[in-house]
Amino acid sequence: MKFLDIYSSHQLASFIIYAHVLYMRKEEYKMKRRNTVLMVFAMVSLLILSGTQSVFAAPTIKIGVAGAFSGDLASYGLPTVNAAKLVVKDINAKGGINGQKVELVIEDDQCKPELATNAAAKLVSSRVVAVIGHICSGATKAALGIYKDSELVTISPSATTPSLTQSGEYPNFFRTIAPDDAQAKLATDFLTKTLKLKRIAVLHDKGDYGKGFAELVKQYAEESGVTVALFEGVNPGAPDYSAVVNKIGNAKVDGVVWGGYHPEASKLVQQMKDKGMNIPFISDDGVKDNTFIEVAGKYSEGVYATGPTDTSSNPLAIKAIEDHKKEFGSEPGAFYLNAYAATQALLNAIAKAKSTDYDKIVAALQSEYVDTSLGRISFDKRGDIIGFGFSVFQVQNGKYVELK
């Protein structure tokens, strides 16, 4: 019954799935989603079965890689492809997993949710056993429903929206990056437990990132009994913050939290110290930037900032970066180490599970610790990474030093 060659049957299958996905969205899930997907699946399997036997003959484990590989956000996605390629190359050089070679199936979503569902459908129809991706949180969320219904483990190196794991909606989702709220939680823990502050001021730059951080800190701080005496946004770029600094002084706080970037932070610490206010200043990874130290100079001394844990001294990270330079002739880009670790963790889980069965891979991801480019990591029940996250840094003698 070889009336279609394998390529066109794939195309046809993905087209049918895509059409159904669109249909489902349009009908606002009037039909029961699971049934639809099962129905689609039945059709797909039929088509693929009728296609050719070469699918089953090939002894490869297919891993999907999805994300923004073209368009204006491609710089966030392409390092992930490179990372996956390098890890897979290493594994295949060692003979593969459980005697099978690993093969990558790469699909572009340009960080657009509508293309992400399409990419997901294509990956499902290519019979991948798991997916590395997607890159942007919105696209990841759109694609996850499809992977969930097809029971595919999905590990994102970069999607940080907290609800992806915390809603419990996607048991198939894992990530090798800390969620957005982890920083705020860490900063709050630090100021309540380590610095033992009782009354704080929280300022932000009114932007999505800074205000988001500031609001979470306020919420967590109030939950742990700290008084937030002042919560205000300031105008980014303004030459002078002395009025708000006076207000901080008047509020009699024993610490200031800043949500935002370094240009405003350096003006704030400078004007605070000029007025003789020597209270702790705690900020986020927008300030954990060496430019802050250069610009604020002596005023930066003692400032605390949370930022991704420094893994550059990890031998696996050094190897990953060296391999990238050798293979592609350039420094790796954004989320490279996260994607590298995601691929390592996934392949390790498949090896440990000795199977490509969904439940067994999930169990292995959650129970096994594995040495990766991000250090020794595992995943918790919700799918968030254990063993890598944010740390608190302090400026000491003109350098950010990680506080252990």
């Binding site: 770029g237 009025a243 000029d274």
Partner: protein, 300 residues
């Protein structure tokens, strides 16, 4: 009361920062009714020039006082040359054409200069070393005002007085007033209008450069975009005080600074800009020409 005084002084300091820039806006507007959007960029270029020259002089081992003097002097000259050239290239060919054309040309110059600095220097924030002296006698009052703020306030006041005197009592000032009143008539009685306008731009740009050095020293940082934000607020201040009027620009700046400072202090800094624009609207409703603006008589 102590808090009130702190906010008042912080508003004064802020006002004097705005005033340093507003003076340049108001001078140019007073003469040729052009809102010189490139003023903020000249201010930024002044700051950058001083940063570069200061670094060079300092590495040659010059004492701080001389570094300050020479870098300010040279950056003022450089910025003045910039202002002169910009007027020649971008504004003069449009004189006598609809005012909107010159305005758009000004916005264009502003974008060109920003990107020129972005490409030729850097997109990053750079530290701006303070070459300004620290007064030890001010130490006990540091919670209220610091040396840099005091210097900015003093310089603003001195410049305002000098400009007023210059415009009132010198020949150039007289020519400026004549050009401002009626350009054609001034030409007819033998005023070299081109020269007067060039001098205005040179002076305005020199002021911008002084402002650039002082304000950057105060902020401790510089990048190619600082002129834009500061320029908008200074422009509001100039309109508030009555655009075209020198004391008006300074008064408008202080009113704006105090409004923002008290608004931040007693209500919330979230609405800082809202306070600034509410006061602008209120004053323009009561006095459409600004606090010290002369009422324009409709010519028949």
């Amino acid at each position: 009361m102590e808090y009130f005084l702190k906010l008042f002084l912080s508003g004064t300091a802020k006002g004097s920062i705005y005033a340093l820039m507003a003076l340049g806006y108001t001078m140019v507007y007073g003469i040729i009714q052009l809102i010189n959007f490139a003023h903020g960029e000249i201010y930024m270029i002044g700051g950058f020039t001083a940063l570069i020259l200061g670094g060079v002089f300092f590495s040659k081992g010059m004492p701080v006082g001389l570094v300050l003097f020479f870098s300010v002097l040279l950056s003022v000259m450089y910025a003045a040359a910039f202002g002169f050239t910009v007027e020649k290239i971008a504004y003069r060919p449009l004189r006598g054409k609809p005012r909107l054309s010159a305005l758009i040309s000004a916005i264009g110059v502003s974008i060109v200069l920003q990107n020129f600095v972005l490409l030729s220097q850097t997109e990053k924030f750079l530290p701006f070393p303070s070459y300004l002296p620290e007064f030890s006698w001010l130490q006990p009052y540091k919670a209220y005002i610091n040396s840099t703020q005091l210097i900015i306030l003093a310089v603003t006041t001195v410049i305002m007085v000098l400009l007023t005197l210059l415009i009132k009592f010198t020949r150039t000032g007289k020519a400026m007033r004549a050009t401002a009143q009626d350009m054609h008539m001034a030409q007819l009685v033998g005023v070299d209008v081109n020269r007067v306008i060039s001098v205005t731009f040179i002076m305005g740009s020199a002021l911008a450069a002084i402002g650039g050095v002082l304000i950057c020293s105060y902020m401790g940082q510089i990048n190619y975009y600082i002129g834009f934000v500061a320029g908008i607020k200074a422009f509001v201040a100039a309109v508030l005080g009555g655009i075209g009027s020198i004391p008006g620009a300074v008064l408008g700046s202080f009113v704006l600074g105090w409004t923002e400072s008290f608004g931040t202090g007693y209500i919330s800094s979230d609405y800082e800009d809202a306070f600034a624009f509410v006061i602008l609207i209120v004053i323009l409703l009561i006095k459409p020409d600004g606090i010290l603006g002369r009422t324009q008589k409709q010519k028949v």
